[in-house]
């Protein structure tokens, strides 16, 4: 899970790490600051800035772990994780939804080293050596995760477009604290919008899933 400081920049990309992070800060600084979910990314950036930095000024190949598998995907300095997942990944991972592409709806929430982040505010260049888990990595229709099953049984979805983002946000919350109460669950989902109006069912599903996860741990 830990990000190795010596993870290799892609060969032939003409990269030094220092200037890339300066550039990324300019491109995404406001966005990073605006999203509560990206605290980890900014910590990571700060730590890396103290070590050596990465310069990306053209197309490059980013390598990271995606749902448990090493992947190498083509990217540009501006490419977001959301775009990588939905367009560059082969096959495309479209479970992570694009609702706003501006860090304001939560439909693209994924786990980055276990923490929930907006994929639309996470730049490809920040992913070297990271572990990304999307909604597809949590379970399958035949083998639902505890949270996914609870969402289904409690009807915590209607049109379903925001659902993957909520499933990931709730999963992150319960992984941290399966005993989370309704207020903690609401806080964990405060960065996600559901326009059909399934919030009460989402809280009920999360409480039920948390209870089951606690049973499992006992």
């Amino acid at each position: 899970m830990s990000r190795s400081p010596d993870s290799k920049p892609p060969r032939g990309a003409g990269v030094t790490r220092r200037t890339f992070l300066v550039g990324a800060g300019v491109a995404a600084g406001g966005a990073l600051g605006a999203a509560p979910a990206t605290g980890l990314a900014s910590t990571r950036a700060k730590q890396a800035a103290e070590d050596d930095l990465l310069r990306l000024d053209g197309p490059f190949v980013v390598s990271f772990r995606l749902n448990g598998k090493e992947v190498r995907l083509p990217a540009e300095p501006r490419t977001t994780l959301l775009s990588l997942l939905r367009h560059a990944a082969d096959p495309p991972l479209t479970g992570t939804k694009e609702g706003c592409d501006r860090g304001s709806c939560g439909a693209c929430t994924v786990l980055l080293d276990g923490q929930p982040v907006y994929a639309c505010l996470t730049l490809a260049g920040n992913l070297f050596g990271c572990e990304v888990t999307t909604v597809e990595g949590l379970g399958t229709p035949e083998e639902l995760s505890t949270v996914q099953e609870a969402f289904w049984k409690h009807d915590a979805l209607m049109c379903g477009f925001c659902t993957p983002g909520f499933v990931v946000a709730v999963t992150a919350c319960l992984n941290e604290n399966p005993a989370a109460g309704a207020e903690e669950i609401r806080s964990a989902c405060a960065g996600n919008i559901c326009r059909c109006g399934t919030y009460p069912q989402i809280v009920a599903a999360a409480l039920a899933a948390g209870a089951r996860m606690q049973e499992g741990r006992r």
């Binding site: 479209t94 992570t96 501006r102 304001s104 009807d155």
Partner: protein
């Protein structure tokens, strides 16, 4: 139809939803059949369609309410990876745009990032016109005309104005007030758009995020220059519509034009900012009401003048008197045009606007007469259903224990955190209609499929398509595969006005019954009995008189070696009804120092005939309540009238209710003796914001007559009380 009628007349059982005790699906809680796909990210929405050689499209919206753009597309075309750049000028008037956000150009490129680059590269010089961005500008002297007949339109009035004036003069209390509502946007989580699979040739497949699968092929074929009938529409899953996706809109048409230009498939889903500007909205509203009541609590007279604010559209309003029944009334409908995007239907078109005005005025009258607002409401509706529902909502919200039943506390004794309760009522017609066809197939391998050219907006259509068939054939829900959202599956209406379930569910039942009967006719000689003696139960077909005459489902299907059973069903009027009632109550806490309003609890009591899936129906009710809460407290499209610019076309600046805005919601499916299906999408979205406004008044005496009910307005109203 006549053939089937005679079939029934020959002695087949009448088609009903069956004995409630014997049902395995209808009227019960059932998790959605597509739930596992949706919670794992495997459900494929239009936004998720990926095709070989597919290009990504984007549009350029005009940022002004009225302008004549001169476009230079060459810089966009010169970019590597940009395949098409076109001007969109069909709906311009002498080159002039007619509304803020009107698309003026579109591009297609190899990646979404390149498409965004291409949009930025387009050179535009805007010649600015005079515009009317809001009602005040449209009504000002010398205003730029939005249409050739002007800006303000008055439609046919209803009622006897003189009689109303006379009745008002005899009332013990008269309230005259103006109630205003801003434009709200649908803000579907999946933006509008389409993926057009066209590579030259004479056919195309169009994947669309739409509420009307069968509304797509016609306009798409025209835009592609193809013969009618050569376009197939596919809508596997769609991410919300709420009325805004009934038509194949600007994004879909632009995608078709780009695909035609490029000779390659084009994926064009609007970005969030564009979505706010050119995909329709709920019309704003300006309503002047004058109501009078006598001291005995009888609403005697109502005078109403309404202006819908629907941009270049007419907007909607159901007319007054809405729900309540004065002895005499006079209603003057009308609308005012502006150079903004046309209003389109949004969840119960016009009704939430009418509700806010009338429910506020009823509350003001009750307070003027020092009457209990709950009793005042009950006294002025004719339906016993409303009285029962109001009592139930009052019980759930704790009205009897509430200290402010005769009005808010005086300012001198008002608590800093004031708690209040308010009420509102809902009415919706809805109902089913003929047109949809449903096909049920039973194959020799035991598989059963039910298909319809309808679509699932998140309402649970796919689930009852499978569930009703499973119930009829005595199978578990999972044994039936439901197929929706493909124009090849046959005709079906667009999903609007809570009409889908009452239209489609009866056709499903009809198809399922006909499939069952055909299967029984085939099996009767094999089992040595008569078809009418056969029953389908618990995964088996058995004879009523002799349990030994029995075949398991797979065995029974295996006898279909000659081929499958495939039958088609149609709408059956006796299975559907129309007309719903609902009552809602809201309990709020108002911080009288900051004006902040917190909704503590909302209750909805809603009838809808037979709810085909009670779990999904309760979700609909809660969704409607949350939509109304959001409309009431947060939402407002803001356009700077002088700069002509959209100020909040993003989820950052346009607030919609989040999970922390919603506390306890109680959704109650009212006991409804009607064993017929009625839709439930619209009615629960109608009165919630009005109940919240009344609760704010009940808490602290602040009457806010302009949505949204923001802290500044609450404080201003409190300040006026002294």
């Amino acid at each position: 139809m006549s053939e089937r009628a005679s079939e029934r007349a020959r002695g087949a059982e009448a088609l009903t939803w069956g004995d409630p005790a014997a049902r395995t699906f209808a009227g019960q809680d059932s998790p959605r059949v597509d739930g596992p796909l949706k919670v794992t990210g495997r459900a494929r929405y239009t936004h998720d369609v990926r095709l070989p050689g597919m290009l990504y499209g984007a549009i350029l919206p005009c940022p002004y309410p009225k302008a004549r753009p001169a476009l230079d597309l060459a810089p966009a075309r010169a970019l590597a990876g940009v395949v098409a750049a076109i001007e969109l000028d069909e709906s311009r008037d002498g080159g002039w745009t007619t509304y803020l956000g009107q698309p003026i150009a579109a591009v297609a490129a190899k990646t979404p990032e390149l498409a965004a680059d291409a949009i930025r590269a387009i050179g535009v010089e805007y010649e600015l016109g005079d515009w009317c961005a809001d009602r005040a500008q449209a009504l000002a002297e010398g205003a730029e005309p939005v249409s050739s007949s002007g800006n303000a339109f008055v439609e046919d009035a209803q009622g006897d104005r003189a009689a109303v004036e006379a009745a008002l003069a005899a009332c013990d209390a008269v309230v005259e007030a103006t109630y205003t509502m801003p434009v709200q946007v649908h803000a579907c989580m999946e933006t509008h758009g389409a993926v057009v699979d066209y590579r030259g040739g004479d056919e195309a497949i169009v994947y669309a995020s739409t509420q009307g699968t069968n509304s797509v092929p016609g306009p798409a074929a025209r835009a592609l220059g193809l013969a009618a009938g050569k376009v197939t529409a596919i809508v596997e899953h769609m991410g919300g519509g709420f009325g805004s996706k009934l038509r194949f809109g600007v994004a879909g048409l632009a995608a078709c034009r780009l695909a035609r230009e490029a000779g390659a498939p084009v994926h064009l889903m609007l970005d969030r900012s564009d979505e706010f500007l050119c995909t329709g909205n709920r019309s704003g509203s300006h309503q002047v009401l004058k109501g009078g009541a006598t001291a005995d609590g009888k609403l005697q007279a109502l005078l109403s003048t309404v202006q819908n604010l629907g941009g270049i559209g007419r907007g909607s309003h159901p007319g007054h008197p809405f729900i309540y029944e004065p002895a005499v009334s006079f209603h003057q409908p009308g609308y005012v045009l502006t150079h903004t995007d046309a209003a389109v239907p949004m969840r119960a078109p016009g009704h939430p606007q009418a509700s806010f005005a009338i429910e506020s005025m009823m509350d003001e009258l009750a307070n003027a007469l020092r009457l209990d607002p709950l009793e005042f409401r009950k006294q002025n509706v004719s339906s016993e259903v409303y009285r029962r529902q109001l009592d139930r909502a009052a019980r759930e919200i704790g009205w009897a224990e509430h200290p402010n039943r005769r009005g808010p506390p005086a300012p001198s004794v008002r608590p800093e955190k004031a708690v209040g309760i308010g009420f509102g009522l809902a009415r919706w017609g809805g109902g089913g209609r003929p047109g949809a066809r449903v096909t049920v197939r039973i194959a020799s391998d035991g598989s059963v499929t039910a298909s319809a050219g309808s679509q699932d907006l998140g309402t649970g259509t796919r689930t009852y398509l499978a569930g009703i068939v499973a119930e009829e054939l005595g199978l578990p829900l999972a044994a039936v595969e439901a197929r929706l959202g493909d124009s090849r599956y046959g005709p079906a209406g667009a999903s609007g006005g809570s009409t889908t379930t009452p239209s489609l569910a009866p056709a499903v039942k009809d198809a399922a019954r006909r499939a069952r009967d055909a299967f029984f006719a085939h099996l009767a000689p094999i089992l040595g009995t008569r078809a009418e003696r056969l029953r389908a139960r618990d995964g088996a077909i058995l004879a009523a008189e002799d349990g030994a005459k029995r075949l398991g489902w797979r065995e029974a299907c295996a006898t279909l070696a000659a081929g499958e059973i495939a039958v088609t069903g149609e709408f059956q009027a006796e299975l559907a009804d129309s007309g719903t009632h609902g009552a809602q109550a809201a309990k709020v806490e108002v911080d009288t120092l900051t004006g902040e309003v917190r909704v503590l609890k909302m209750v909805a009591v809603q009838d809808c005939g037979l709810a085909v899936n009670t779990l999904a129906a309760r979700s609909q009710i809660q969704g409607g309540m949350i939509g109304a809460l959001s409309y009431g407290l947060l939402e407002e499209r803001v356009i700077d009238p002088w700069l002509g610019l959209a100020m909040n076309a993003s989820f950052v600046d346009y607030k919609v209710a989040g999970i922390k805005d919603v506390a306890e919601l109680v959704a109650i499916l009212d006991d409804d003796p009607r064993e017929r299906v009625i839709g439930i999408g619209e009615p629960p979205a109608i009165p919630g914001h009005a109940a919240i406004a009344n609760a704010i008044f009940n808490a602290c005496g602040a009457r806010v007559r302009d949505l949204p009910l923001t802290p500044d307005k609450v404080l201003t109203a409190l300040a006026a009380l002294g």
